[in-house]
């Protein structure tokens, strides 16, 4: 035994000690309760299988988080390939002489007299969160990290292995969708 104390695993205590932490870590990235719960469960089950590989160098929590991180990246990749070809609902012409111009029915229309005082509203909050949950997963993850967790672009770049310009394109698409979703479900209702 070396001077440095080795960390040990105690799976019976995992739920009590780490479920909340891992859940918070996940929900702030996915904003989806059930999906977050499933990923936490998968993390624990994968950790059980991998227990013999635990060398005791990192703390139990750090080790579990590293497994969870991989699950989140997998989730991200999965959605990436699923949604890759589904990007048909675009807002701008992609080719021709109108390239880069608004497609007429996607362009912003007037929202009436919405003011600061109308922001505090439970129904609006619900609609907004539904719009966010309706985003394709990869857009949701990147958008939330940037907007809610206030991550630096570089941190997201490291966590999800994306280039900065890629991140901005993703955020751009997410915000276009969110604006449109709020227009259709709130401001023009």
């Amino acid at each position: 035994m070396t001077d440095q104390q080795k960390h040990v695993l105690n799976p019976k205590k995992w739920v009590d000690n780490y479920a909340d932490y891992l859940f918070n870590y996940t929900i702030s990235r996915l904003n989806d309760h059930d999906l977050a719960k499933d990923l936490v469960q998968e993390t624990f089950l994968s950790a059980l299988k991998a227990m013999k590989n635990f060398k005791g160098q990192a703390s139990e929590r750090t080790w579990l988080v590293s497994i969870l991180k991989r699950k989140i990246i997998d989730q991200y990749r999965k959605s990436n390939s699923k949604e890759g070809q589904a990007e048909v609902r675009m807002s701008f012409y992609k080719t021709g002489e109108n390239k880069g111009k608004w497609i007429e029915e996607k362009a912003p229309s007037n929202w009436g007299n919405f003011g600061e005082k109308d922001i505090e509203n439970e129904e609006l909050k619900k609609t907004l969160n539904q719009c966010i949950n309706g985003l394709p997963e990869k857009q949701r993850i990147v958008f939330l990290l940037k907007t809610v967790k206030n991550y630096e672009t570089e941190e997201i770049s490291n966590e999800l292995q994306l280039s900065a310009s890629n991140i901005w394109v993703i955020i751009h698409r997410a915000r276009l969708k969110l604006r449109e979703c709020m227009e259709n479900n709130w401001f023009k209702n």
Partner: protein
């Protein structure tokens, strides 16, 4: 590559999105304001986008979600089953 001053709506709105996080450069903001001066749609987008940012700040706090007690019990059960299969 020299950056152009005249940009299209797709580029303008992307710069506008960047500026919501204070990450648009001065030159980008300059290009955006020229574009918005000439383009009603993007001008409107910029206004609405600023409002969207306020809505996100006020209403989106996913960290307030919790695992319910019964969900934790469920997790424990699952873990237990796999601990002694």
């Amino acid at each position: 590559m020299r950056k152009k001053i005249i940009i299209n709506c797709d580029e303008a709105t992307e710069i506008c999105d960047k500026s919501q996080y204070c990450e648009a450069s001065t030159f980008d903001k300059f290009r955006l304001s020229i574009h918005n001066f000439l383009c009603k749609k993007c001008h409107l987008y910029s206004e609405q986008n600023a409002l969207m940012t306020k809505l996100f700040k006020t209403h989106v706090h996913p960290e307030k979600e919790h695992l319910k007690q019964e969900e934790k019990e469920e997790l424990k059960k699952k873990l237990e089953e796999n601990l002694y299969p």
